[in-house]
């Protein structure tokens, strides 16, 4: 396997190398850190590296392994974590100036579980500020670049995590998905991205964007990789009132390559000519044919409320965000404007100077949506659409096991290309937001490429059916090589 500062292997490769004694965690972490600094630095993938801490944790992991007491399949494995999950004693920025210097006194539930499993975080990944965006350009640390073409976006908001996996810096990474923020960057970067069922993974310590939509998930190079991470991070957490009581799914047995008899639903509304590029439709159709060849059946289903989903999503998400972000007021922590003249001035200037434009746009939109006289027309109506979206899926899933769609309607666009056209950027979320509105698990996996850029297939499943979802994704990957493609090594 590659060493030095070359790309790291896949999760199974690294595990067998550790198990056989061919390598040690300290070596993997060193390689990962070196590559994060070099390749990750050029890509803008990280906001912070944990060199010292990660090295110490790797020593401990190696000691456990020598003593035959490895904690989990992730023990000693370098991972990267989106910079919106807090860790005790360390900075969390959400790529925002307003959290300048903020050090958390406690750790997120997901971080506790990763620590308990022995996973080693090499650092925090760059993102759109407060997870608001689909391009990872809205960051005080500068944009993240796509490893397949540094002039293009890696997608967002979890662009740093997606790029870090695609560039071989880490085998797996953690992100969060509010309207597609794991699946769309996975699609753009040619990796696998899983958004679990809402409530499957604890939100305790995830800095909120839109509470009813946010969900923590994983990136990896294969469906099996993200399944491994899911088993570690999923499970009930009493500190999150929306956390589901179910134990983590047992995916390992489910990933047996057998999809015979499973029904793949094809939503007729998602394969229309308009607004989706022909290369994307072509690759996704080919992927569905591959699943048929593997023994799955296909069936057309209908999701008629889909056309309203993006509008409903942006109303609900911005409304919740306007309230969730009210706590960043310059009073208790983070950025505070200097030389203020009274309380109103403290609020106005701290928030004006501390938040970026996209965040301010969404706060203003969300405040408007909740205002007296508009609540009924916008927020209430959006909640009604949400109920209809959920019913669409219930009806559709009564006739199929999973639903297949494109992840994103277009290939990755160029950095800056959508900066002046937020509406066009929002419409790029058309295939992903419905899963958040309905709380469903979804996964994006590479299914081809065009113009040298990856294309993603999205699979959706009913709530808590991650094992079935990943079984289909894994079966596809057993028959294809799209997920093995690697971006060109930077010069």
């Amino acid at each position: 396997m590659a060493t030095g500062s070359g790309p790291l292997g896949t999760l199974p490769e690294l595990r067998s190398a550790l198990d056989s004694g061919e390598t040690r965690s300290v070596a993997l972490v060193e390689q990962s850190l070196d590559r994060a600094a070099r390749v990750g630095g050029a890509l803008g993938a990280f906001t912070r590296l944990r060199g010292e801490e990660a090295r110490a944790e790797a020593e401990a992991a190696d000691a456990r392994r020598r003593a035959g007491r490895s904690l989990s399949p992730l023990d000693g494995i370098p991972v990267a974590i989106k910079d919106n999950l807090v860790r005790r004693g360390e900075v969390t920025s959400c790529a925002s100036r307003i959290l300048e210097g903020y050090v958390s006194p406690y750790s997120a539930g997901v971080i506790e579980r990763l620590d308990a499993a022995g996973a080693i975080s090499i650092g925090s990944t760059n993102m759109d500020e407060f997870a608001m965006g689909s391009s990872s350009e809205h960051s005080i640390y500068g944009p993240v670049r796509n490893p397949w073409d540094p002039a293009r976006t890696p997608g967002g908001s979890s662009g740093g995590s997606a790029a870090a996996v695609a560039a071989g810096i880490v085998p797996v990474a953690i992100g969060s998905d509010t309207g597609g923020s794991i699946r769309q960057p996975a699609s753009f970067c040619g990796v696998v991205g899983l958004k679990p069922t809402y409530g499957r993974v604890s939100r305790w310590g995830l800095v909120a964007y839109a509470s009813s939509l946010d969900q923590v998930g994983a990136f990896g190079r294969s469906a099996a990789d993200v399944a491994t991470v899911l088993e570690v991070i999923a499970g009930h957490d009493a500190r999150d009132s929306t956390s589901l009581p179910e134990p983590p799914p047992r995916c390992a047995e489910a990933l047996d390559g057998d999809v015979s008899g499973l029904v793949v639903g094809i939503p007729r509304e998602y394969f229309v000519e308009q607004g989706v590029s022909p290369e994307v439709v072509q690759s996704v159709r080919a992927a569905i044919e591959e699943l048929e060849a593997a023994g799955a059946k296909t069936r057309e289903v209908s999701l008629p409320t889909s056309e309203f989903a993006v509008a409903a999503y942006y109303l609900v998400a911005t409304a919740e965000a306007s309230s969730n972000l009210a706590r960043y007021d310059g009073v208790r922590y983070g950025y505070r404007a200097r030389n203020v003249n009274g309380l109103a001035d403290l609020y106005q200037r701290s928030r004006s100077e501390g938040f970026g434009d996209e965040v301010k746009l969404r706060i203003v939109l969300g405040t408007y949506v909740l205002s007296a006289g508009y609540y009924e027309a916008y927020y209430r109506k959006a909640q009604q659409v949400r109920t209809l979206v959920r019913r669409d899926f219930e009806r559709a899933f009564s006739a199929c096991d999973v639903i297949a769609t494109p992840t994103a309607p277009e290939l990755p666009f160029r950095l800056g290309e959508r900066a002046e056209d937020p509406l066009r950027m929002y419409l790029g979320d058309v295939y992903t937001v419905s899963a958040n509105l309905a709380g469903l698990p979804g996964v994006s996996l590479p299914c081809g490429s065009a113009d040298g850029m990856p294309i993603g297939l999205q699979l959706l499943a009913p709530p808590l059916e991650e094992a079935k979802l990943l079984r289909v994704a894994d079966a596809y990957q057993r028959r294809t090589d799209h997920h093995r493609a690697r971006p060109p090594e930077p010069a």
Partner: protein, 494 residues
Amino acid sequence: MSASLPHPDYEVVIGLEVHTQLRTASKLFSPAPVRYGVPPNHAVHPVCLALPGVLPVLNRRAVELAIRAALATHCKVHPHSVFARKNYFYPDLPKGYQISQYEEPLATEGWLDVPMPDGGEEAVKRVRLHRIHMEEDAGKSIHDPAVVGSDATHVDLNRAGVPLLEIVSEPDLRSPAEAAAYLRTLRSVLRYVEVSDADMERGNFRCDANVSLRPHGSQTLGTRTELKNLNSFRFVEAAIEAEILRQAEVLATGGTVHQATMAFDPASGRTRVLRSKENADDYRYFPDPDLVPLVISQQAIDAVTATLPELAEARRARFERDFGLAERDARILTESRALADFFEAVAGELSAARSAANWILRDVLRALKDRELEIEDSRLAPEALARLIGLVEQGVTTARAARELVPELVADGGDPATLIRERGLESVSDAGLLEGAVDEVVREHASDVEAYRAGESKVVNFLMGKVMQKTRGKADPAAVRALLLRRLDGDAES
């Protein structure tokens, strides 16, 4: 300020919103303890500081207490209620929103029977309750230059997130005195079911009043104003009265009352506008997505019902019926649950409950009041009081001596029999001793004896007092009286 209420020209319409603190060990959505007297920002946790990434988890004990309060006020407890965010910016509100209940409260449609102040037409008035909901308290902003120096503001978040119950009455109250009577009854009920300490002085029982006027006989409500933060019973009455006079003045001069939030200034005795309706905040309420709807099953309600004590009204009726107490006495004895329990315990030890009531109403309550104690703070055990009463009834000591022991027993406790023995307070029932004292008095006051025998029967009381003096109050007055009369009347015959 005029005492001319009820107002001659207008009917007064008052509705009250009470915020009372639920008696829990931790906050409504945070594991932080509810604690007083600790240094600022020492009863806090990342949740009540609104640090990034924290989430609220509902305190189940607070829900149980809220259900108790709802049941005790005859409210309908809803099987499904929703927590909402009330959004506004203020430094003592760390999240930038308060978690409250808005469109779907915990309970609605209750009532309280309120004893009316003297002079009213009805003895008891049924005041309807509009709703009861749970919410969290804000922190405290400290502007006092003596504390914080210069013109800075300091924020203490110890109180932020403390569980409150908001209890909203219908506009059924017709005078400041009725409003105060309602508050007293409500406070008593909340204490009775041990939901809240409901202590106004400590700020855990706070009141806002909605006040409007309308011509007598009118069925439509006038424009109301809201009086904020009335934090003592005295203020409640004075503030409402001031606001009534202000509105009456406006109306009398042809003006219009504008909807507004008012504050009462106790120094001037006047109310002033805090915020007009045009400047009212838009709180942008919406259901809190971090919390799931609060679902309360009938079983949960039944479980709470099973732990509810007999409520004050039922207990008062029972005291009247079973112990033959007067309504007024029964009402006083049931004002607090601890007092009613104390009375029942004393009565249980005695053959006559009536005398237990008399002793408590007359002596124990006075001793408590003198020392500013509640019955639960007193060291007087019910068995001790029962023993003391028994000793009087058996003639071991006199009522007068026993009464003098009550303040000491209330403050310090102790065994009445021992105290009586140690202090030499046994009654003098020794016939020889008593007769000797009577003889001496008759001898020393010959002219008074003459007067008695000449028909001035009242003189016997004076002579009795002299005998009691000689026996230092230890003689049984009835025995003294009998002996004295026999002596006075008998001697005349001889």
